[in-house]
């Protein structure tokens, strides 16, 4: 089983801008890519999963670095980023759109580029597809149950959430840090995530996630020619600091382990669905 999909190069990286690192989940790759794109003119608008009241994730089309920073950080709940893609090229009249998504969202974007039935004059305006690693997601009420009932922090007080080292971490604005065992979160997972065979956003131009790199850094897969040119420009402009992935711990080995874990588990679920005569994406 292929753990990572097609890629040209894998690196470990982080943003050089301290303001980005302060707000971002890991190495700030998505925020840095967006901000660099907006400032250099490579992008004229980007789609973010905005952080709204009650730590909700809501897709938003934004055009300034401030708005990008406001959306930084992972919300472990569904943000239908593709739902505003056509608005970005219609109502906002954007010509060079950056979009970020989980692996399933990136799949959706690639499909609508190849088969753009209800997407007139949209696919040519997509300038950059960023993907984030994803093991599974939670409905908003599921995330809320984990954060409020298990971790005991009110949604309005949440500063950051994270999944790592076998735990769901909740950081409050007042400085509290609480953890929830991952086994307690499983019942809240979105069940449709269990047919997903992609961990590292295999169809993105550039995909990134925390696993494999030290705290404060991100593992980055550069997959397409477009992605490679974009990263090279960022490095040249000095907005990214990079290391060879072989030089960092725990490195790609851990990414591979988690990816295969997801794929093997979900392959069983797909088999199970087939036995029941239920449809699977094809």
């Amino acid at each position: 089983m292929d753990p990572f999909g097609t890629y040209n190069k894998a690196i470990s990286a982080r943003a050089t801008d301290k303001a980005i690192l302060k707000k971002s989940q890991d190495g700030g790759i998505i925020s840095a890519s967006y901000i660099y794109g907006l400032e250099s003119g490579l992008l004229d608008g980007v789609i973010v999963a905005n952080t709204e009241k009650g730590f909700k994730a809501v897709p938003k089309i934004v055009t300034t670095p401030e708005e990008v920073l406001n959306a930084a950080g992972t919300k472990y709940t569904i943000s239908p980023n593709v739902s505003v893609l056509k608005d970005a090229v219609r109502e906002y009249a954007l010509e060079k759109v950056g979009i970020v998504g989980t692996p399933c969202q990136v799949q959706a974007i690639r499909k609508l580029i190849k088969y753009p039935m209800g997407f007139r004059h949209t696919d040519s305006k997509i300038a950059l597809i960023l993907g984030i690693f994803c093991m599974e997601n939670f409905p908003y009420e599921g995330m809320k149950a984990i954060v409020e009932q298990y971790a005991g922090i009110r949604m309005n007080d949440v500063l950051k959430t994270d999944i790592g080292k076998g735990k769901f971490w909740v950081y409050s604005k007042s400085g509290e840090v609480k953890t929830v065992a991952l086994k307690d979160t499983h019942m809240y997972e979105q069940k449709s995530c269990h047919v997903c065979m992609d961990y590292t956003a295999e169809l993105a131009d550039i995909s990134t996630g925390s696993v494999g790199s030290p705290d404060g850094w991100s593992t980055v897969f550069i997959r397409t020619k477009n992605g490679e040119e974009y990263i090279n420009k960022m490095v040249e402009a000095g907005v990214l600091e990079t290391k060879q992935i072989e030089e960092v711990k725990p490195g790609l080995e851990l990414v591979q382990k988690l990816s295969l874990q997801k794929k093997e588990k979900n392959e069983k679920e797909l088999g199970h669905r087939k036995e029941l005569g239920l449809p699977i994406p094809y």
């Binding site: 569904i78 239908p80 959706a108 690639r110 209800g118 007139r120 449709s192 169809l203 239920l278």
Partner: protein
């Protein structure tokens, strides 16, 4: 030269306009094909028979069409319409249901007669209810790019790319916003990407708490939400990136 025809049934010409909306790409296509029939764009073969009490004008759908792009649905209460669609099938190698009306009835699903000057014209069906359809392209209208992709794939014989359209021709006649409810949410496959909401051409889909909410009263049964959903169909060709 590949002989292409545009056949206008009970449609609005929006599908043809969508094709023309390709600008210079349309010229590439027209360079590769011979447009043998298109009432909107070229002189058709017309036979005029004059008798004492009436003048009969007959338009002839040509023979040996390679690809017939059929726009609009069929009015079962109009015998000219039935003749045209049957002739189209007889004279064509590949019949493409171009757009929602031809593919799934679209907005004509709601027609119910009672209007002058033909109050008896009440029954409209997708062309697949009357003839065998080879490929169906949903959308109201289908995007310019998707029409070009489909025509180019048909010209190149790229059956792998065309496979989803062949399948929609077979099973897509009942298209509706309900496809997303029945085929995706109810099947525990919806992961909330929002593609259906963005694709919907009448904004009949809202994403609420990460799942599509279908406002069926706005839905015009164009089939584009279900066709664009990556959790119903995810063709292998999509997985090839450069």
């Amino acid at each position: 030269m590949v002989r292409v025809a545009h056949i206008h049934m009970s449609g609005c010409t929006g599908c043809l306009i969508s094709l023309a909306d390709t600008y210079e790409k349309l010229l590439d296509i027209l360079g590769a094909v011979e447009l043998v029939y298109a009432l909107t764009l070229s002189d058709e073969k017309t036979e005029i028979t004059e008798t004492n009490d009436k003048i009969l004008i007959e338009r002839k759908i040509p023979e040996n069409i390679d690809i017939a792009l059929v726009e609009g649905s069929v009015c079962l209460d109009d015998h000219h319409s039935l003749d045209d669609i049957l002739t189209t099938r007889k004279n064509s190698k590949i019949v493409v249901a171009l757009g929602a009306c031809a593919a799934s009835g679209g907005v004509t699903r709601f027609a119910r007669g009672g209007q002058m000057s033909q109050p008896s014209h009440s029954a409209f069906v997708p062309i697949g209810d009357v003839i065998k359809v080879d490929l169906a392209l949903p959308g109201c209208p289908p995007s310019t790019e998707s029409i070009v992709n489909l025509i180019m794939a048909a010209l190149n014989g790229d059956m792998e790319y065309l496979e989803p359209f062949a399948e929609i021709a077979k099973y897509g006649k009942d298209a509706c916003g309900c496809d997303v409810i029945k085929g995706v949410i109810d099947m525990s496959l919806c992961m909330g990407c929002g593609t259906c909401a963005s694709a919907c051409q009448v904004k009949a889909i809202d994403m609420i708490d990460g799942k599509p909410n279908i406002m069926t009263e706005f839905c015009i049964k164009c089939g584009v939400c279900g066709a664009q959903c990556p959790r119903i169909r995810f063709p292998k060709v999509v997985q090839k990136i450069e």
